[in-house]
Subunit: 329 residues, 2 copies
């Protein structure tokens, strides 16, 4: 029921995923969903309550019959393996913490995105689950990001703190306060990192609060869209340019696809005890289909199990659980 | 003396500006500057003290002989009309407030940048002067941005508050607290705006704290650089693509130039009582030359005078000075 084009686009996406061979359950208002589902082999789990895009934490806690909470409970009950939500990221976060719980040592899950670079991905978190963070949350994100990058094959991930300057003492109050915590954490912390340096390969993991991460992500999306629009206009301007663009098109296909979030689905909520994919609020049918496929692969490949292992390996290597390590400080 | 490649690149840039017919004064350590200046017609104003890129406000206040402060005093004394600094933005801000003062009703100047769009520019502030802001600073930025957009010919600029969601209540604590102030201000406030919507034309002015604005700006720079690198790689891959790129190149020249900050110089510190250009920390000779040209045009075209007029028009239209308006709340 969540997302700017719900439930129509979401149901369409679920039908496409169903045609791909995946088994999908839809949670929401049966009267609205049933006509959209038609004769597709999709089970509807009814609940009349859906949270709005502006739902805050207290609203989520009050409504235990909200569709996003019910979807999470299906995973706890073993009736589903993962959850996709295109609704409010904050509501999805709170629901996941209440219904699924978090991995050992994780007090606050984070939305992780991987920004493609020429030389391996850049792992960025939090990309939008928690607009207001405390320093210890950034520490958790650094541990999660390190474990995630290791699970993805990066041997010793370099962790940077997203900042407006690389010198220690730069950044806002949160960055300055988190610096010491990250410096003492069991990670390869390389200090403050500016986003352009991170994109150029300086860091493998970049941590920030969810407000900043989300704004950066959406600014990047907007920039790409605006560039594409201006390129199209420039190309239409002359026959020479049109011919050039046609010759160039096949070579650029990969770059273009990587830039299109519709191909990528959503983003994992890292640190929750089961795979949760936060879809794009503007998800259309194709984006929803991609998000469902992503949730399927995350559960099939044991992404959460692998993450839990990487987290506990890391803490064992430093003589104790993450909780112990935190209590010691 | 400020900037990653100072003083060499800065002096080279000053020499280029000098060749362009501009009159430049260099403020800093004469022993280091003299050999670089050579026989160019550039006056050196000596001071042994230069602040580092990590200089904080208290350091700036302690050193009244710092090169950036001395440069500002040359403007107060009528020996120069504008200032360019590629050093710490925070130090430039504090120096400007101490030495030049601010326009009526402005308690905190902000770095303004104009992001090119297909349909007019997007005015973004603060792009990096104040990493930590209070709600009333965002209100000042909204007033400054409105006046600036009006001075640039936008009739009734729509002002958005940069946020991770458009619903009221989204954003971090600062955004939520600033919302009411902006809503009550004498501007056309359209609420929370996501950066992609702003780039698509929803807002004319976008306000945020300097940490967020700077991170967004640098992420955009990094994204453009990474895209260019990947396009180059893709193009090198085949003869067909190379031919296409060659045919396309003339049509893309404008787009490319707009994306290159080296062509744009720096950014104005809006709200200071005289033109101050904050150059890029990584400014090379060309970027320095462009920043000097920008400072020259800002003083010649009376940008600050126009801004002051727009600010006072605005407050008169609402029956009182900005200070009165603020006291009333």
């Amino acid at each position: 029921m969540g997302g700017d084009f719900a439930p129509d686009a979401i149901v369409q996406g679920a039908r496409l995923a169903c045609e791909d061979g995946l088994s999908v359950l839809l949670v929401g208002d049966e009267r609205r969903l049933k006509p959209l589902v038609g004769d597709a082999a999709i089970r509807i789990v009814h609940t009349p309550t859906a949270l709005g895009m502006d739902a805050g934490a207290s609203e989520v806690r009050r409504h235990d019959d909200a569709s996003v909470r019910l979807a999470m409970r299906l995973v706890s009950a073993g009736e589903a393996t993962s959850v996709v939500s295109c609704g409010s990221s904050a509501a999805t976060l709170v629901s996941a913490v209440i219904e699924l719980g978090t991995l050992d040592g994780v007090d606050r899950p984070a939305i992780v995105i991987e920004l493609p670079r020429s030389d391996g991905d850049l792992v960025l978190l939090d990309a939008g689950a928690s607009a207001d963070c405390k320093p210890r949350h950034l520490e958790t994100f650094a541990l999660l990001g390190t474990a995630w990058a290791r699970a993805k094959g990066v041997d010793a991930p370099k962790v940077g703190l997203l900042s407006n300057g690389e010198e220690r003492g730069k950044g806002n109050r949160l960055v300055r306060e988190a610096y010491a915590l990250l410096d003492a954490a069991a990670i390869d912390f390389i200090g403050n990192v500016e986003p352009d340096d991170a994109l150029a390969g300086k860091a493998d993991v970049l941590v920030c609060d969810g407000y900043t991460g989300n704004v950066v992500l959406k600014a990047a999306e907007g920039l790409v869209a605006s560039l594409q629009e201006r390129l199209r206009t420039a190309i239409r301007g002359s026959w020479r340019a049109r011919l050039g663009a046609w010759l160039l098109a096949p070579a650029l296909r990969d770059v273009r696809d990587q830039l299109d979030w519709r191909h990528q689905g959503g983003a994992l909520l890292l640190g929750a005890a089961a795979p949760v994919v936060v879809g794009h609020g503007r998800a259309d049918a194709d984006a929803t289909r991609a998000a469902i496929a992503q949730a399927h692969y995350a559960s099939r490949e044991g992404a959460v199990r692998e993450l839990a292992r990487a987290l506990s390996d890391r803490s064992r290597a430093h003589g104790g659980s993450l909780d112990d390590a935190r209590r010691d400080r």
